[in-house]
């Protein structure tokens, strides 16, 4: 830091007390780590005194005329003086700002030019470092912003290239894992009713490449979810809470559309992509990089989640309409789930019900032409009774 005027107090003292070494001298007969020495700047040159065993030795005088200057050191911030001594080439590393300043002031005209050149080099290196950092910082910011705002398109493009079979394999393993840990309802009126609803919805889904598989899981938790590839799980808790089949069909339409719009896959692609980008940029460091990575992934998932929920809501509503199922059930059920009554409604933690969400659905519903819904072949009250 030999340009800077601000001086570390402890280093200033080294000059003041005049006994502490303030430079490192290198030479053939000196240790490789450099010999600490005390440098004084005089009118005609510099004097160097080595301390051996605590005793200061005879000072060595070096005239300015025999010295060449350059910048050196790890950060290119030390002043390096070189000259031919009686015992061979000597190299002196100065980093004490005071000594460097005195040297620059005392140096004769023939050294002014080289000193200016060295100072220019140091400034150049600093400028280059600053420039590189700001370019990298800027492009990093641009990358993050680009990812944040433009990623949906990129992710969709990437997800479109992944074959349905891969998605099914991915979803199936998670689905089997989940079912292995939970007790499912394998037959009976409940399963028949859910299957009828799913099939009716799936029939009316345009360009549907999936064969949906639905399982009813015995659990008081109010929840339902869809896995990539068309695997849907409905909890009996959710069915107990519904007052009509249309309400359950609403949830199913929403979940089916998560699958149809390949939301799970998009989310995975996005997370993988984001992790890859962050890993490339920050390396696999356990410190800052790890924290940033986690934070970024969480944030991305959160933001992505909202957009997906809205999409699944709206397309779900349209699907209900096409399948001639009363869409009002979807809205009223969502609203009723949001009312707190102490039961474990997990569906809400991933699908937060806001008035904005209900309003958006109602607005969408108003645009859809009215039609007479076709009833299901089963009676909902009987299904609910069979749940116990």
């Amino acid at each position: 830091m030999w340009e800077q005027i601000t001086v570390n107090e402890s280093r200033k003292n080294h000059v003041m007390t005049d006994s502490h070494p303030n430079a490192l001298c290198f030479g053939d007969e000196l240790p490789a780590g450099g010999s600490p020495c005390l440098v004084h700047v005089e009118a005609q040159g510099i004097t160097i005194a080595f301390t051996v065993g605590g005793k200061q030795q005879q000072a060595e005088a070096v005239p300015f005329s025999s010295v060449t200057v350059s910048a050196g050191g790890l950060d290119h911030d030390q002043l390096v003086l070189q000259w031919m001594g009686p015992t061979g080439q000597r190299t002196l590393y100065l980093k004490n700002p005071d000594v460097i300043r005195t040297f620059r002031q005392a140096a004769p005209d023939q050294l002014t030019m080289p000193l200016e050149r060295v100072a220019g080099q140091v400034r150049h290196v600093r400028r280059r470092h600053r420039m590189v950092w700001s370019i990298v910082g800027g492009s990093l910011l641009a990358l993050v912003l680009g990812l944040w705002f433009g990623s949906d398109l990129l992710v969709e493009l990437a997800a479109d290239r992944i074959p349905i079979e891969w998605e099914q394999k991915l979803g199936e393993s998670a689905y089997r894992d989940f079912l292995a840990q939970h007790e499912s309802v394998n037959d009976g009126p409940t399963v028949n009713a859910i299957t009828e609803m799913t099939q009716r919805l799936a029939r009316h889904a345009p360009n549907n490449p999936y064969t949906f598989e639905v399982t009813v899981v015995k659990s008081d938790v109010v929840n339902a979810f869809a896995l990539p590839g068309g695997y849907i799980v409905v909890f009996t808790g959710l069915m107990k809470k519904a007052t009509s089949a249309e309400e359950v069909a609403g949830v199913l339409a929403h979940e089916l559309n998560h699958v149809l719009q390949r939301h799970g896959l998009e989310r995975i692609v996005k997370q993988l992509g984001f992790v890859a980008v962050v890993s490339i940029v920050l390396g696999n460091s356990p410190g800052l990089g790890g924290v940033m990575k986690q934070l970024g992934v969480e944030l991305m998932t959160l933001k992505f989640g909202r957009a997906q929920e809205t999409e699944a809501d709206l397309t779900g509503l349209q699907l209900l309409h096409r399948a001639k199922i009363d869409p009002n059930g979807m809205i009223t059920f969502f609203e009723r789930l949001a009312e707190k009554d102490g039961s474990r409604v997990e569906w809400l933690s991933t699908h937060p019900m806001s008035s904005a969400r209900a309003d958006r659905l109602k607005a969408q519903l108003a645009e859809i032409p009215k039609q007479d819904p076709e009833p299901f072949t089963f009676e909902w009250t009987k299904i609910q009774a069979s749940l116990g």
Partner: protein, 227 residues
């Protein structure tokens, strides 16, 4: 303050004798045993923000421990986590060392520890991250390595090439550039070296004879993968 390396070789310890009132900073968890006159304090070197930046930026520990001989003279035994040598350097206020984050074991109170930002290429390719510890000041500095520690002495303008994961510490009078191990990109990585550091003297570079990352990868293949 006097120090002595016990059991030199793969499993050494360092014994530090402290006079009454003297104290030493050590990596947290480094203390093995000590006299009852020594108090162990946990200290966030450089204040809370300094500690926080060290934790997040270099991956080094948040706290250092301070061993203080407050009730009379005493001794402390210190050891690193990994098997490997210990080396004691004496800083005289003029020479400074850059130390990779696992290399610091202990330092006398006169030693200042800073996190310093590296240049872009060094940070990105050097394998040490963008921030690194800089040791300056006056007093004893204890470093540890993974494997044996080897000292490379460089004369002015003398060059030496070091695999970046074998670096322990290097004096600030040296400079280094990161470069590919061989002239081609593919060969650089298939040779198993990737990037190397070309050091230029004068100064001293301490390297370790084993590569922690390489060892980790080797161990990982024997660890059964749980379901």
């Amino acid at each position: 303050m006097k120090s002595e390396i016990l059991y030199p070789g793969a499993f050494p310890m360092v014994r530090v004798e402290l006079a009454e009132g003297e104290h030493i900073k050590a990596e947290s968890g480094a203390m093995v045993a000590c006299s009852p006159t020594i108090d162990i304090e946990s200290k966030m070197e450089g204040g809370f923000l300094g500690a926080l930046s060290r934790k997040f930026l270099t991956g080094e520990k948040f706290f250092f421990q301070t061993l203080r001989a407050s009730r009379g003279p005493g001794e402390a035994l210190l050891a690193p986590t990994v098997p490997g040598e210990i080396v004691v350097l004496e800083l005289d206020g003029v020479n400074e060392y850059m130390v990779q984050k696992d290399g610091f074991l202990a330092g006398a109170d006169g030693i200042t520890i800073d996190s310093q930002m590296q240049s872009m290429t060094r940070g990105l390719l050097g394998g040490e991250g963008f921030f690194i510890l800089k040791m300056s000041g006056k007093g004893m500095l204890v470093l540890n390595s993974f494997g044996a520690i080897h000292k490379i002495e460089l004369k002015p303008n003398q060059e030496y090439i070091v695999d970046n994961s074998h670096l322990v510490a290097w004096s600030t009078t040296t400079t280094y550039n990161i470069e590919k191990a061989t002239s081609g990109w593919v060969a650089s990585f298939t040779s198993g070296e990737g990037f190397v550091c070309r050091f230029r003297g004068p100064g001293i570079v301490y390297i370790q004879s084993r590569n922690p990352r390489g060892f980790g990868a080797w161990v990982r293949q024997f660890i059964p993968i749980s379901e």
